[in-house]
């Protein structure tokens, strides 16, 4: 990579040619303030807070957009620069309501922190009088226009990262307002509540209903982990305080999703209001009653050693759990299954990143607006870039409006033929396709890269652990052991005489179980999961489980011990 020599604030820096002054400064550890800029978004250059003085330039220039050139000399905190920045801050504070003490972002707000940095102690311009609307029509997060500084990070995130194009600006000048679609309430718009806008907003304008007022950055802990909402396995950061999950954010550095998340990964876990199972339970006279681990495990061990046995496991479980589960029930001769399925891949297996290069994307049977939504964003981004989407799916498919071609399974052959002509075709397949559809893809083997979207977050991990996949309804045995953890599995009893549920929450499974063993939820255990591309990723515990809840693997090992199995 070619370097150019520049000087910033007297410091000699070898900057990468083509980078901006801001990037070069940050690389060298110098802190030029920004507001509209975000590293994951296109350079915008509009808030004007990053103005710097560059020798031999007539006017101050925005560091976030100005490219470095050989010999450039930059001053980032000269008198002129500081005056210009203060002015921008004064204007922003005069524009809308920034009474920080009432704002949920106070302490973490980028605008507020700049006001401290540049010593804003007064409002030199008249205070705003007119309160603006607060749009709380979305389920999970709120738009408070009173705190918005119109930096448009949200607009760019929605367009460039999510490719959903919901957000925009209406009116102009001082009347400019962030808006959804053709000015409808956010909750009635095309918004998919992925929350990417929320994650990039520098102020309190976009606020998360769950995390608002629940802890500043200095009061929370962050844990890097992997989402087990689906088999994409997005990188996440779990933000927690006092053993409570406050918020989930997309991990900008994660290779799979590069910061993106969907509503399933970002919000749904925080709104899980099911009742926890906090201790072992045994059914007596039809009612579940608390008991000690010792008693519960004794009872279970006894049942496991006798009768015909079926054992089912959630595909939200980690690879470590899968392995332990396999060992135990294999040696007991149980009929085993993990509840999930793989998608067909009749050719070379691709990666999600292939979508960024594809010229034709053939999506077969998947609705990427409902499931695997982050893959949906990647497909839309590809379409924005000029790739064409060929959809083999039901008429109401969520990506229908992005598709160049859209047919049912009966006419799939024409699109397969077309994809075969493309130069970089990528096939995205859902799991559980009709057999004919699978067969119809054969001509693309060797031509396309295949991205199968397995059902169940860790179906690939299950297969690697030697567990067969199933829909979960087929097992029929005298004794049924269901390792559900926090999954919402629907498994019929099928005439089993004894049912064990290892579960985190009270629900249909515990209702039918004879013994319930409390299980941690995904955020309480560490381990690994294998995503739909075959990537092994790490899951980190961010929370400590309730006192009497044992790690899943420990329970399995203890059971093995009781049964005198050397595993």
């Amino acid at each position: 990579m070619t370097k150019v020599q520049i000087t910033i604030d007297g410091q000699k820096i070898a900057a990468e040619a083509g980078s901006t002054v801001l990037e070069a400064a940050r690389e060298a550890g110098l802190d030029i303030p920004t507001l509209c800029h975000h590293p994951a978004l296109s350079n915008w250059g509009a808030c004007r807070i990053c103005l710097v003085e560059i020798e031999r330039q007539r006017a101050l220039q925005t560091a976030c957009t100005f490219p470095v050139t050989e010999g450039m000399v930059v001053h980032t905190e000269s008198e002129k620069v500081v005056a210009a920045r203060k002015f921008v801050l004064q204007l922003l504070f005069s524009e809308r309501n920034h009474y920080c003490m009432y704002c949920q972002m106070s302490g973490d707000c980028e605008l507020q922190s700049l006001a401290y940095r540049y010593g804003l102690t007064e409002w030199p311009y008249p205070r705003p009088v007119e309160p603006l609307a607060v749009d709380a029509t979305r389920q999970y997060f709120v738009m408070d226009h009173n705190r918005c500084i119109l930096c448009r990070r949200c607009v760019r995130a929605c367009a460039e990262l999510v490719a959903n194009h919901t957000l925009g600006v209406r009116e102009r000048g001082i009347h400019s307002m962030i808006t959804a679609d053709l000015n409808v309430p956010m909750g009635e718009s095309s918004c998919i509540q992925c929350g990417t806008c929320l994650q990039v907003c520098p102020t309190g304008a976009l606020m998360d209903l769950k995390s608002a007022y629940r802890g500043r950055e200095t009061q929370v802990e962050r844990t890097r982990s992997t989402c087990v909402g689906c088999s994409i396995g997005c990188g996440i950061e779990l933000v927690s305080r006092a053993n409570h999950l406050v918020r989930i954010e997309g991990d900008w550095d994660a290779e799979v999703n590069k910061g993106l998340l969907c509503v399933v990964g970002r919000f749904e876990p925080l709104f899980d209001d099911r009742q926890r199972v906090t201790q072992p339970l045994v059914r007596r006279r039809g009612l579940l009653e608390p008991c000690e681990w010792d008693e519960a495990l004794g009872l279970v061990a006894e049942k496991l050693s006798g009768d015909s046995l079926a054992a089912l496991i959630t595909t939200r479980a980690t690879n470590e759990t899968m392995t332990q589960f396999g060992r135990l029930f294999r040696s007991l001769g149980a009929e085993m299954a993990a509840v999930g399925s793989l998608a067909p891949a009749p050719g070379a297996e691709g990666r999600l990143t292939d979508l960024a290069e594809a010229d034709v994307i053939l999506v077969v049977g998947a609705d990427l607006k409902k499931d695997h939504q982050v893959a949906g964003a990647f497909v839309r981004r590809a379409v924005d870039r000029g790739a064409r989407l060929a959809l083999v799916a039901d008429a109401d498919n969520g990506l229908a409006s992005y598709a160049t071609w859209h047919v049912g399974f009966d006419q799939m052959d024409s699109l397969v033929g077309m994809a075969a002509q493309a130069s970089r075709p990528v096939v995205v397949c859902a799991a559980d396709l009709p057999a004919e559809a699978e067969a119809a893809l054969a001509p693309l083997a060797g031509k396309a890269s295949f991205l199968g979207l397995s059902r169940g977050s860790n179906s690939r991990g299950a297969v690697a652990a030697g567990l067969p996949l199933s829909r979960g309804g087929e097992a029929s045995a005298r004794v049924l052991y269901i390792l559900a953890e926090d999954d919402r599995l629907h498994i019929p009893r099928n005439g089993a005489g004894f049912v064990v549920a290892q579960a985190s929450y009270v629900g249909p499974l515990t209702d039918m179980a004879d013994v319930v063993l409390p299980a941690p939820i995904w955020a309480e255990q560490s381990g690994h999961v294998t995503n739909t591309e075959g990537r092994v990723q790490s899951v980190q515990a961010a929370l400590t489980p309730p006192e009497n809840v044992w790690p899943t693997v420990k329970v399995l090992k203890t059971l093995a011990g009781r049964l005198n199995l050397a595993l």
């Binding site: 509009a46 101050l60 957009t65 921008v88 922003l92 600006v169 009116e171 102009r172 000048g173 001082i174």
Partner: protein, 423 residues
């Protein structure tokens, strides 16, 4: 001494917008000459040699801009005709479009041939209802007679031209905002560089010109760059349409050589101030340009001479204010325009112009406070040079220049808590 009309030579002839009238007046001969007798490079050189500078406000040398367009033949290139004419006090492009549209089409075709573009777009201000119709009719007729379309005049050169109507925003006259709007997006300026000549419409190299600039081109081709350069001053060559409005006896468009003194334009051509009153202030080049006073009346109306006294030729829109005008209310009125038209993209313009309006309004209403003049000046200081596009620099000019020349009048407003001009 009367100046031979060049750009406005047709406008007073009945039916001047019709192609037959245009042809009878010698129209499209320049295009024929350009296509058959000149190479594209020669034309670029001719426009360079003519000294023609843009008439849309910035005065950038046209030939230089043409030469910035990439030469490669396999690159799609575009030409865009800026017919947005939103600058207050400016009404020349409208006249040309309504009364002599073929002269512009001829200029577009020559420019497109010179830079190797085969597709051109007219971006026209939405409120120009007659202009839109005239543009479309003229384009249809030019196609029918073979001046547009495939193989123009048997030269092998193809050009398509169509009209796009704006939706009523001043900022869409700024070339990159115009390109955004043409692409169907919200009209807001783009980051520069890259300039449109490198990355323009649909990310292709694009030549953007004002109507009046393009209307000069056929004459340069027909009568030669030396002839063109002989008109006007050394750095400001050729004819210019001055739009005179305000408190004069004969407001209107006057075509004169660049360098004509301001006094001559106001007092001879526009018939002087109404009822013999005194001139108080004059805006020389559209609302964006700093105002002058009676002491500047001898300035030659040329790019360099106006620059030297701290203002600009701009569009050549001259607005005359006589002694009855309250300068604070004039500044308020002008600044309100800019605040209203701010696109809202960058902070200093979006919020700063509104704070200017707030303060000017308060002074005009008799609620001014000590320190308000300094507040205005510091607002101007904070906005100018710090905005995303040149609009911020323009927006402070009414305030800055009026304080510079009439500070006393502001002080009187503040001290007496009322406007001294309103009885």
């Amino acid at each position: 001494m009367t100046f031979e009309k060049i750009l406005l030579r047709n406008v007073e002839i009945p039916n001047s917008e019709k192609i037959d009238v245009y042809l009878k007046r010698g129209g499209y001969q320049a295009l024929r000459k350009a296509l058959h007798e000149h190479t594209p490079d020669e034309l670029v050189e001719m426009v360079k040699a003519s000294g023609l500078r843009g008439r849309g406000g910035a005065g950038f040398p046209a030939g230089l801009k043409w030469s910035f367009m990439p030469k490669a033949a396999d690159v799609t290139k575009y030409v865009c005709v800026n017919t947005d004419e939103g600058e207050p006090g400016t009404f020349k492009d409208r006249l040309l479009v309504e009364r002599d549209p073929h002269s512009i089409i001829e200029g577009v075709a020559i420019a497109a041939y010179a830079v190797g573009a085969h597709r051109a777009f007219v971006y026209i201000r939405g409120e120009f209802f007659t202009g839109v119709k005239r543009w479309m009719k003229a384009i249809d007729d030019a196609y029918a007679r073979g001046f547009l379309g495939a193989n123009i005049l048997g030269s092998g050169f193809d050009l398509d031209l169509s009209v796009h109507r704006g939706a009523g925003a001043y900022i869409c006259g700024e070339e990159t905002a115009m390109l955004e709007s043409l692409e169907g997006k919200r009209g807001e300026p783009r980051l520069k560089p890259p300039y449109p000549a490198q990355v323009g419409l649909y990310a292709r190299p694009t030549l953007v010109h004002n109507v009046e600039t393009l209307a000069c081109v056929p004459h340069i081709v027909l009568r030669g760059p030396e002839w063109f350069a002989s008109i006007g001053t050394e750095d400001s060559t050729g004819p210019k349409i001055f739009c005179v409005s305000g408190d004069v006896n004969r407001p209107g468009n006057y075509e004169l050589p660049l360098g004509t003194p301001l006094r001559e334009i106001i007092y001879e051509h526009a018939g002087g101030i109404k009822e013999g009153r005194q001139l108080k202030a004059v805006i020389p080049g559209g609302a964006s340009t700093p105002m002058l006073t009676a002491e500047h009346l001898d300035v030659p109306m040329a790019f360099e001479t106006l620059h030297a006294i701290g203002t600009m030729l701009g569009t050549g829109g001259i607005t005359v204010m006589d002694e009855r005008v309250c300068i604070v209310s004039a500044a308020l009125r002008l600044t309100r325009f800019f605040a209203h038209e701010s696109c809202g993209k960058c902070t200093p313009c979006r919020v700063g112009t509104q704070r200017l309006v707030d303060t000017l309004q308060r002074i005009e209403d008799g609620r001014g406070q000590q320190g308000d003049i300094e507040r205005l000046l510091s607002l101007c200081d904070g906005i100018a040079g710090h905005t995303f596009c040149p609009m911020g620099d323009a927006a402070v000019n009414p305030t800055l220049s009026s304080i510079k020349h009439f500070r006393h009048e502001y002080e009187v407003h503040i001290e007496r808590h009322r406007c001294p001009m309103s009885s």
